[in-house]
Every structure is written in structure tokens, then in C-alpha cells.
């Protein structure tokens, strides 16, 4: 029997895979993908909660998160393409133009 806890554990695991991806990977596209993974983990927990508390708000929230995540991915890719055209790099370590 799969209970609410199982979904929440899965969601937490996915979320932290995303967090570690953002913190430790240097490729900006991989970082972007990790953020998307975090958002999907959140969606999973919304849907699971919605199923087990029998209210629809969680579904609605997940819809909005999906739509916003798509817009966010679009803007993120656009910024990345812009950076690549100018600098020919997608590595986080190369972003060192501004320092104190």
C-alpha cells in the first residue's frame, strides 16, 4: 500500500537532488534543469496532499506551478542563449565580471 508518506519522501528526495544539483554542478543548463526538478518535486507534494486531504486547491496550485515553471524555463533559456552569444560559455565559474 502506498501512503501519503511515500509520496512525500519521494518529493523530498527529488527536491534535494535538485538542491544539490544547483549547489554543486557548474554547467548552467544543468543548474536550470535542477531548479525545474525542484519545482516538479513541489508539484508532486501538492498533488499528494490534494489527494489525501480531498481538496482541489492542490491541483489548481500544481497547474499554476507548471505554467509558471514553463515561463521560467523559457526566460532562463533565453537569458542563457544571450549569455552564450556574447561570451561563448555556459559555465557558472566564468561569471566573474563583477567583484567588490
Amino acid at each position: 500500500m502506498i501512503t501519503l508518506d511515500h509520496y512525500l519522501y519521494l518529493s523530498a528526495i527529488l527536491f534535494f537532488i535538485g538542491v544539490f544539483g544547483v549547489l554543486f554542478r557548474r554547467n548552467l543548463i544543468v543548474i536550470l534543469m535542477s531548479i525545474e526538478l525542484m519545482l516538479n518535486a513541489v508539484n508532486l507534494s501538492f498533488i499528494a496532499f490534494s489527494r489525501y486531504t480531498a481538496s482541489m486547491d492542490g491541483h489548481v496550485f500544481a497547474f499554476f506551478v507548471m505554467a509558471v515553471a514553463a515561463a521560467e524555463a523559457g526566460i532562463g533559456l533565453a537569458i542563457l542563449v544571450m549569455l552564450f552569444r556574447n561570451r561563448r560559455t555556459v559555465q557558472a565559474d566564468d561569471l566573474t565580471l563583477m567583484r567588490d
Binding site: 531548479i35 501538492f46 506551478v65 526566460i75 563583477m98
Partner: protein, 500 residues
Amino acid sequence: MISPPPVNTEILNLLAPLLVLVGAGLLFLMFGAFRNRVGTFQRALIVILYAAVLFYVGKLWNAEGWPILNGMLIIDRFSLFFTAVVTICALGSVLTSANYLDRFGLDRSEYFALLFFATSGMVVLVSAYNLISLFLGLELMSLSVYVLVGYRRRDFFANEAALKYFLLGAFAIAFFLYGVSMIYGLTGTTNFKGIMVEATSRGIARDPLFLLAVALILAGFAFKISSVPFHMWVPDVYQGAPTPITSLMATAVKAASFAAFLRLFYMCFMMGSSKWSGIIAVLAVLTMTLGNIVALVQRNIKRMMAYSSIAHAGYILIGLASLSIESTRAASSILYYLLAYSFMTIGAFALISAVEKREGTRGLDIAEYAGLGLKKPFLGLAMAVFMFSLAGIPPTAGFFGKYYIFSAAVEGGHVGLAIIGVLNSALSLYYYLRVLVVMYMQKGVEPLDVHDDLGVKVVLLVSLFAILWLGFGPERLLPGVESILEWTRVSVAKIASLGM
């Protein structure tokens, strides 16, 4: 059974400011599709549209203030106050932009479309009464601002700033959402009132998972208001963004985020437990001290203003830490402070954008302000007032803002916080006055060319006037300090009563 939310003329009336902004955004998107340059006609139209928003805010000022659209939004005194603040900030940014965009070859309709979308996001954010609309407002604002930060596409600094802001912003939003999903799981609702009722009645407020969720939401907001430890992006992004957009980020984005933060915490989370005020107090001390100390050594004026804006976020956090259910004083002092701070920051950035240029050090080094005070007496005077106000010297609005916040802290039993705040203000005096010393005491090496066109001058004049009026303006023609404080008290009392 599905019952569609009642939409009638009354509700459309209440939504008028928002509808004007969204419509304006779409209109300028279409301008962008069919012709690219922004003419005098479009410029006038932008100002008229923003003025229309302010007009509707005035018309709705005495609105009932009940949740509308199935409890998604609430149009009350508090949200109208902040709608006015963000509209004024956006208008200031628009007026500063005209000349700046021309000089940097960025003169496009899309810029203004994005500005309108960002403003409508802020309006949703400050009127949110449900975590869904809060999230949507936050994202509509943030996504537009991400693009605006990177608007100078060929500029390396802008590329880097946009990417940093985007990645860290999206990262912070993910934490915020994770917190929201836990709150939803525990309370079964996303409505503010529902959360408040569930949290206090069933003792959920003491559940460790609930505390974790609130901490995650706090982290998301701390990023938006640039509080320590989520402040690392601020100087870089402020430096790389076009200056009118930096001005927008330092004022409107911050004010809107603080508004949503205040409403959510005041209604939902403060009631259950007093632990939060301790945590926020620690954040406040760290934020203002770090901001002020690092600002001391900055040579680039935009970076200096970035650290100064971090420090000011710290002062406002003192107000948040001294929130209490019994007294509305702390909350109303935050509203007053944000209004005063917005005016002085808009003014300072309008001046910075007038001095900025494309080549060399880009006219952003503080040393390049040498001789400005004597060559351009009006600009010198305006900058002096902005700096005095930011440092908190009487009789400017900055002084009264700090005074109200610190006295609210003392009243709430946070004497230590107030003392640290005063010490920090004294420290900040050094770097604000240094700008004035350079402006008046040093001789300029090369001839200054300052692009102070009509728009910049209007912004300078209006913010100069507002700062002095908010300081000691009498109560006749325009509402003075007394009535503004009264408005803030009324609007905050309304939130507190809804929370009861």
C-alpha cells in the same frame, strides 16, 4: 457543484487599477510587434496610464475591503496604499528611462510592456489573499524584472546580472513553494484566513513541520527583500541592470515584497508563535550591519546604493520583528518607512542615471561626481537632500521613518534592536556624506556632461518635495505626516481585525 465566482461591475470596479495595468502591458506588446520606436505619443500615454491607476486608487480609497474572486484577492486600504507606492515608483522609473534608453539605444516598446506587467504583478502581490495569487503575483513581477535586468543584450555586465538574478531567484522561489506545499498539507487550504483559523484552532502552529514550512517561506521572502543571508546577488544585479530598473528593484519590488510578507506573517504566522520575532530580529541586525559596513568601502555608486538598500531592508526588518497583535504601531511605521525610502531612492537613482554614460568607467565611480555640486546647483542640492534623508538626518522623511520604527521597537520591548539601529545609522552617515564631500569639495578633472532632461528633473523635483513634505509638511493642501500615519494605522488595523 461548481459555482463560478460572481463577476459584476462592482468587482470590475475594484479591479480597475489591475485591469488598466494589464491592458496597458498588452497594448505596448502590440506596439512592439508593429512598430518599434517609442514616440512622444507613447511616452505621454504611459504617463497617462499610470496616472489613471493612481486615479482609480484614489476612487477606491474607501472601499469595503472584503476578499473578492473566491477569496483570491482583497482590495483594502493596505493593498491600495501599496498599489499607489509601486505605481509611483514605476512612474519614477519611466520618467527616468526616457533619456537613458535613448542614450543606450534601448528605446523599445517591449521595455514598457514589461514594466507594466511587472507593475501588475506587484499589484496582485500586494492584494493577494491566497497563497496561489501571492505566488502568481510574485512570479509575474519577478519574471518581468529578470528580463528587464538583462535588457542591454550586448552588455556583458547585464548578461551576468540577469543570469545571477534569474538563477538565484528561481532557486529561492522553489524553496518558497516547498514551504507553501507543506502549509497546504497541514491546513488543507491556501486561503490566508483559512490558514490562520486552522493554525490557531488545531494547534498546528507548534507542529515542527509547520515551523519548517514558515522558515522556507521566510527564506523566499528574504531573497526578494535582500536580507542577509540571501543578499549576495544584490550588488552584482544592481550594478548590471539598467539604472531605471535598478531604481525599480530597490523601491517597487522591495515595497511589494515587504507588503506581501507583512500581510502573510501578520495574519497567518505571527499569531501562533512568538519565535519568529526573535529570528527576524537576528536577521535585521545582520542585514543592516553587513549592508552598512560593506557600503563603506564601495567606489561604484550603484554598488554603494545596493549595500545601502540592504541596510535599509535591515531597518524595516526591525519593524517586522516588533510586530504585535495589540499595537499596530510597528506595522504602520513600516508602511511609512517604505513610502519615504521609495522617494529618496527613486530620486538618487534618477540622478545616477543622468550622470551614467556608455564608455570608460561608465560614469558610475563616485570620484566622477567631483565638482557636480557647484556646476549643477539644483542637482547638487537634490543629491544632498537624498543623502541626508537616506542617512536619517532631520528634518527629512528618512529621519522620521527611522524614528517611528525605532520607537515602535522600544515600545515592543526591543530596546537592544533600536540601539543597534541607531548605531548603524551613525555608521551609514560616513558613506552618504562622502558622496557630498566629493561633489562639493573636490574639483572635477574632466568636463561633466549630465543628461538631466525634463523627465529626470521632474523626478528629482517631486521626490525632493515629497521627502521634505513627509518630514514636516503641514496638513492643508496635501495630506501630511499625520494623515499618512493615520492611513497606515487604519489599513494595518484592518488586517489585524481580519486575522482575529
